[in-house]
Amino acid sequence: MLFRVDPNSTVPLGDQIAAAVRRAVAEGAVAPGERLPAARVLAESLGVNVHTVLRGYQRLREEGLIELRRGRGAAVTANASPQRARLLERVREAVADARDLGMTEDELIALVRGELGA
């Protein structure tokens, strides 16, 4: 899959790598079960630190989009559907918007709770 990062951007590189994978899943460019390049390979390819790539991968793992297995590398999980990836993207946008508005964490969570309860 295609990874693009912009070293001049204010977004951390690890987040940019995570965003690239999320985008690829959302667009259906990578299918569930597909392997991502090993962190070392990707780091050399993009000219970034291995730990930066791993931070991005770790973030995707927390979101349930990929699984990291020792010795087998990173692979897109079976339930990483394009819809799920798109939902994650929207959640990130919502959080970013809330921060721009100066909302606190509790205020945003209260908003989401309210929506869930409706």
Binding site: M1, R35, L42, S45
Partner: protein, 324 residues
């Protein structure tokens, strides 16, 4: 199967079928004069040292010729060979069938009226020379026949043309990389077979021959799940370890295309192939990134989503030419 394919398959299998028919006719003619146990294997002096029942021998010969015949037919149809490769396939098939057919039939003939312990004269070794000769005679016949049959057209080399080559829009300063695995299901099997051969050769002959084979198997083993990367350094195919790897730097590229390649017809097989005008890592027939080098040669890697990889290569090439 189309009529053309049928023709190709028939021509490729023909020598094996002929050898089979001649063998069966000979068998039927001399059947009554054959001993129960045929001498089928001879030492360097030509005396028999292994035996086989008539039925077993018949099945053995039949099986060998049938398997080889079908193999050649499959190659002729699926290989989509053209030009020299095609006449080599057909000629080679004729030669092999003549060589094997001659030996299989001669073994029958030397057993005619033979006593229990094997033929008295043994198996004169000049028969082997004659078998080789028969193969040498059959080769050009096959090659000639292959020219009479309708030849499939050579693969379209595609002039590419920079105009139709896709690009990926990259912002200034943006760094892009593309990576994809190209695992082939047969690679671990090939490594196992090679390791087994290494052990067999090491134990039966000498470890001086076995050890290099084992090392080769291990090197290929690191390439069981290779991956292809496209980035500012060029196109890289690497295995499990950082080295060995294959890399074509951007400086040596003229352009990249995504097109379908045929493993047998264009590269004569699978694996890391080097041909006079092209080389490549070929794990299957199908889509591939084909890089035109400044030297006029081509380097190909069979990989899924090759269009994205080729587009990124062209983008990176543009960038390099623009001096960014």
């Amino acid at each position: 199967m189309t009529r053309k394919n049928l023709g190709r398959a028939t021509l490729a299998a023909l020598p094996f079928v002929l050898a089979l028919i001649v063998g069966l006719v000979v068998q039927l003619t001399v059947q009554d004069r054959l001993p129960d146990r045929l001498a089928v294997h001879f030492d360097a002096g030509g005396s028999a040292d292994r035996y086989m029942g008539i039925t077993a021998y018949l099945l053995y010969g039949l099986g060998t010729l049938l398997v080889l015949g079908s193999l050649w037919a499959v190659f002729a149809v699926n290989g989509k060979l053209y030009g020299r490769g095609r006449s080599w396939l057909i000629g080679g098939g004729f030669a092999l069938a003549a060589f094997l057919g001659y030996l299989l039939i001669t073994v029958l003939l030397v057993n005619v009226d033979a006593p229990e312990g094997g033929p008295t004269d043994g198996f004169p070794l000049w028969h082997v020379a004659v078998a080789v000769g028969a193969g040498a005679v059959a080769w050009p016949i096959g090659a000639l026949l292959s020219r009479l049959a309708p030849a499939p057209e050579g693969p379209d080399d595609g002039d590419g043309g920079g105009a139709i080559r896709e690009r990926i829009a990259l912002a200034d300063g943006e760094v892009a990389g593309w990576a994809r695995g190209i695992g082939a299901w047969w690679a671990p099997l090939a490594v196992l077979a090679l390791l087994a051969a290494a052990v067999a050769v090491g134990r039966d002959l000498s470890w001086f021959a076995g050890a290099p084979l084992a090392v080769l198997a291990l090197v290929i083993g690191t390439f069981c799940r290779p991956h292809v990367t496209v980035d500012r350094r060029g196109l890289t195919v690497s295995g499990l370890l950082p080295k060995p790897r294959l890399r074509v730097p951007l400086e040596r590229m003229a352009g990249a295309d995504s097109r379908r390649v045929n493993a047998l017809a264009e590269y004569g097989g699978w694996g890391y192939r080097v041909r006079p005008d092209r080389s490549g890592v070929i794990t299957r027939s199908g889509e591939a990134i084909v890089v035109s080098l400044t030297s006029g040669r081509e380097f190909a890697v069979t990989v899924d989503d090759s269009a994205t990889g080729a587009a990124l290569l062209n983008t990176l090439l543009d960038r390099q030419r623009a001096g960014r």
